[in-house]
């Protein structure tokens, strides 16, 4: 899996990296600096 990951297009790695950083920032906001657990998503069948 890591092997395939490393052969992705460089633009995809940049976009994915930026998206992940945004996700960490948003997670920090949601959990008030990791003091509360993140909300749980419900997938209903």
């Amino acid at each position: 899996m890591a092997w395939l990951f490393s052969h992705l297009d460089v633009h995809a790695l940049v976009l994915g990296g930026v998206w992940t950083v945004l996700g960490v920032v948003w997670l920090t906001v949601l959990t008030r600096g990791f003091r509360t657990p993140p909300p749980e998503l419900e997938f209903e069948e």
């Binding site: 990951f5 998206w19 948003w26 993140p38 069948e45």
Partner: protein
């Protein structure tokens, strides 16, 4: 309808191996069969991991749910976040492939016209909450298998005819390719497998789910992989090498080469129908995922967690994915596919990590699996 879980599986169609042929073959320098073989092996290991987790947790939500339970709720959040990126871009990629084929056939019409038609029609249907009957879907998938089969038979006849090129190993390895090219091709072809894990979303309704669902997941990945390798092998035999006039719509030229304009027209019709009917449920699934995130407080509720009062559909979310679709005008098929694969690989990788984490969690209990199966294989 808005409460149903997103189902990625609606997106996998047998035709995908043909519509993506040019773009993926170009990346692999004409060794598409090898690229699919590598991707199939990688997918099988991921499928085994999915199978193990589905056996442990027969719940909906797949990668997100496994990471949340086996690793940590915050890691689970980030896996869900990566999946969200996929759903933002998936409709755009589907529309991009569709309009690439239309532009190849009608070069005098500007490309934005086709992209706009796809976006407006699909978004319109979804906003009104009009869904396709399951029966229509079955008919369409069957028709795709039929045209795919025709394609392969006609190809084989050409390859095996006295003046044909005969069967060679070039689709697996040729002098112009490199290990890096095959790997890059494999990283792209993984796109064709996205959604194989959707079988796990049936976990809560299937009988004896702990036994049948894991088997179904692995079998789905295996069968898909075999079909992809076989079709890629045959098509690559007819068109050796990875150089195309228009890689994003190469299969159309090849169809014309084999059986002339009539067959090309049938093929084009199938591509358009396949892309249009795939786009509708994919966009709906993405909008529903955003709605679920809004409703549960993961995304701002005031924007994402609302439904249209009359139609009951998440209109704002549908408009967002529709707007993202305009990016199709500025991207190539292979670049946009690799955007999707970033999210998919993140999900696959974390399912593998979840298996190892679960093994660690189970220490000292009889439920614990073997080191080989639960640590080395992922």
């Amino acid at each position: 309808m808005a409460d149903r879980p997103p189902r990625a599986g609606v997106h996998t169609t047998p035709f995908i191996v043909l519509t993506t042929f040019g773009a993926f073959s170009e990346a692999s320098s004409g060794t598409l069969a090898a690229a699919y073989a590598v991707a199939t092996v990688a997918m099988l290991f991921s499928a085994l991991s999915y199978a193990k987790m589905a056996g442990r947790y027969p719940v909906a939500g797949s990668a997100y749910a496994y990471a949340r339970r086996a690793i940590d709720s915050r890691v689970g959040f980030l896996v869900g976040w990566a999946v969200l990126l996929d759903y933002l871009f998936l409709p755009m990629v589907v529309w991009l492939y569709g309009s690439a084929y239309l532009t190849a056939q009608f070069p005098e019409v500007p490309a934005w016209v086709f992209v706009a038609l796809f976006i407006v029609l699909t978004t319109g249907l979804n906003v009104r909450g009009i869904t396709m009957a399951a029966r229509v879907n079955v008919v369409l998938i069957s028709a795709q298998f039929l045209v795919l089969g025709l394609f392969v038979v006609l190809y084989l006849r050409r390859v095996l005819s006295p003046d044909g090129s005969g069967v060679t190993i070039e689709p697996f390895w040729n002098p112009t390719t490199t290990v890096a090219a095959v790997s890059a091709g494999a990283a792209l072809t993984a796109y064709s497998f996205i959604g194989f894990d959707a079988v796990s979303t049936f976990a809560e309704e299937a009988r004896d789910a702990r036994r049948t669902i894991p088997r179904a997941i692995v079998l789905t990945a295996l069968c898909a992989g075999l079909v992809f390798v076989a079709v890629a092998f045959v098509v690559q035999l007819v068109h050796p090498g990875g150089v195309f006039d228009d890689p994003d719509a190469a299969a159309l030229d090849i169809a014309r080469l084999i059986r002339g304009d009539l067959f090309a027209a049938v093929f084009l019709t199938m591509v358009i129908l396949a892309k249009f009917t795939a786009g509708v449920p994919i966009q709906a699934a993405g909008a529903r995922l955003m709605y679920a995130m809004g409703r549960d407080g993961v995304l701002p509720k005031a924007v994402f967690g609302r439904l249209h009062p009359r139609w009951g559909t998440p209109v704002v979310n549908l408009l967002i994915t529709g707007a993202v679709g305009t990016l199709a005008l500025f991207l190539t098929a292979s670049a946009s596919t690799s955007f999707i694969n970033f999210g998919a690989f993140t999900a696959f990788a974390f399912v593998n990590v979840s298996v190892v984490a679960q093994w660690w969690r189970d220490r000292g209990t009889p439920a614990r699996g073997t080191v080989l199966g639960w640590v080395v294989a992922p």
